[in-house]
Amino acid sequence: MSFKDKTDAVSVVGEELSPELDLALREFRQSVHAWSEAAYSQPRTAVATGRRKQVWRLAAGWALSGVLIAGVVSTGVWEHHRQEMRMAAARVAEYERLAAEQRNQQARQEDEDLLAKVDSDVSRGVPSAMEPLAQMMAEDEAK
């Protein structure tokens, strides 16, 4: 028995279907079919939304990857820059240390030269300075 275009008054269970019930069942079936057909197109929209979501997810993935790569690269560059700076600072410190050492050595040399000069001046001056004293000592001995 089909409800498509005929309203048989007997149901499959062997009971008489009143025209009212038959009509109501037919209308019910038609409405469910129409509703379903209309709703059936909705999942396709949902699939499209899903695809859109996928595209967004893909784009977000790429963006995140980009950010990560940029982060890794910039960290590397920054680390390299810091290392360069550290090496330059070490070079400057070494240069300054050498310069200071040289300065100290020069100063020590100057001091030594000065002392040597003073010593020689003193050694040269003492004999003449001692002369009157030596004379006095010689006179005392004669007496």
Partner: protein, 191 residues
């Protein structure tokens, strides 16, 4: 020996391709009907779509074991009925989830009633009748509702309903008779 293995592999690949094509044809042919049955059972478009997808996923997994003893539609309907049953069981457990966010009352299905060549008054009356049948169907037991929808919406034969539900024809008849009596009674009470 190697040639034999290669031939076997090719045969298997061909068989798989054929099975995939067959299954694809089954999906195209029966998806709307399965969706419609689940929609009328659950009255929730999103849920009906989810269950339809699950139904075909399950069918795909077990496609190899489908022996063709019943029609593909009956087999799919059986899977859909079981999924729907599981859903109601879960719903019963989650009794506190009373509100259905996306559910559409079956009354709204009456909005989709084709107008045909009826007058406005006739259309209103028809909408009222559809809403009344919907309400009656909602009040049926799960089994009665399934049998009723398979018969009066999906227009399956008693034998097909019996195969899809796993009941014998006599039981199907009894459920259908009770469901019909209830709908008739409520429609009669309305008038």
């Amino acid at each position: 020996m190697a040639a034999g293995t290669a031939l076997e592999a090719m045969t298997m690949a061909t068989a798989q391709e054929i099975a995939a094509e067959e299954f694809s044809a089954v999906v195209t042919k029966h998806r709307p009907q399965i969706f419609r049955f689940l929609l009328s059972s659950t009255r929730d478009v999103d849920l009906a779509e989810t269950l339809t997808q699950e139904c075909f996923l399950k069918a795909h997994r077990h496609w190899g074991s489908f022996r063709g003893e019943s029609s593909a539609m009956t087999w799919l309907m059986r899977i859909a009925i079981n999924l729907q049953k599981d859903h109601w069981r879960n719903r019963r457990l989650q009794f506190w989830r009373k509100t259905r966010t996306n559910a559409v009352e079956l009354d709204e299905a009456s909005d989709w009633l084709p107008s045909g060549e009826r007058s406005v008054e006739q259309q209103l009356l028809a909408r009222e009748r559809v809403a009344q049948v919907g309400k009656s169907v909602e009040g049926l037991s799960e089994r009665q509702r399934t049998v009723f929808l398979l018969r009066y919406v999906e227009e399956l034969e008693l034998s097909e309903i019996a195969r899809a539900t796993g009941l014998n024809e006599g039981t199907v008849k009894a459920h259908l008779s009770r469901a019909l009596a209830r709908v008739r009674g409520e429609l009669g009470g309305k008038r």
